[in-house]
Symmetry: C2
Subunit: 128 residues, 2 copies
């Protein structure tokens, strides 16, 4: 069939497509916040932890490892005493940040509308 | 303090900020796929389910309800036999789709780079 040659190689709507793995990672609240935050420049572990309120040491560590494995974040160790570890966006990670920034800023801009919608939905649900 | 007046009202980095609720919702893989898909126009439940491979009836139903509650998706019932239910993006939902489309398309464009990064990370991890 000729049409098969026109088919996109990767398609997020296919459940076995590897792009789903990427979506799982980047569609994660903590990953989104970390990527957006590293846009400001390289940063130490404790610095990130202090800035992103509510993230635990374990979750931050796991999320950074996954982002590093995906090639989105780099980890640099400096031989200071004690050892300093710095995290930074890779060039690939930088291509993601504009998208990620748009997502977090959408949330900040539109929360009022969402809260209003939730209130009317809940009020209507009570009447059913 | 004068600086408090300059502080942003909503801040996704604050754990008690309601924008976190929005991020939780939109930073969900299934919600992202549904919003992106509804960008093509209103659609029936079974149609969405057929197009988004791997989503269960339960998860689709729960995700649509949450999106409706957030004011991002509307639900219209037509008095046909059997009843027809159609889902569509609201104007608020439309403001999100460009961002959402950028996220899914980033995944499709950059999966090769991510898979390569994962392979070298895993190879390096084996040597440790």
């Amino acid at each position: 069939m000729e049409t098969t040659t026109l088919r996109r190689v990767y398609d997020v709507y296919e459940d076995r497509c590897p792009t789903r793995l990427v979506l799982d990672r980047i569609a994660d609240k903590w990953a989104v916040l970390i990527l957006d935050h590293l846009n400001g420049g390289p940063m130490r572990f404790n610095h990130i932890r202090r800035d992103i309120k509510g993230i635990s040491q374990k979750v931050l560590s796991q999320t950074l490892k996954r982002l590093e494995r995906d090639g989105l974040v780099s980890r640099t160790v400096f031989a200071t005493v004690p050892v300093t570890v710095e995290y930074a966006l890779t060039p690939l990670g930088h291509t993601l940040t504009e998208t990620v920034a748009a997502l977090t800023h959408w949330a900040e801009r539109n929360i009022e509308a969402v809260l209003t919608a939730q209130k009317s939905y809940d009020a209507a649900a009570e009447l059913r």
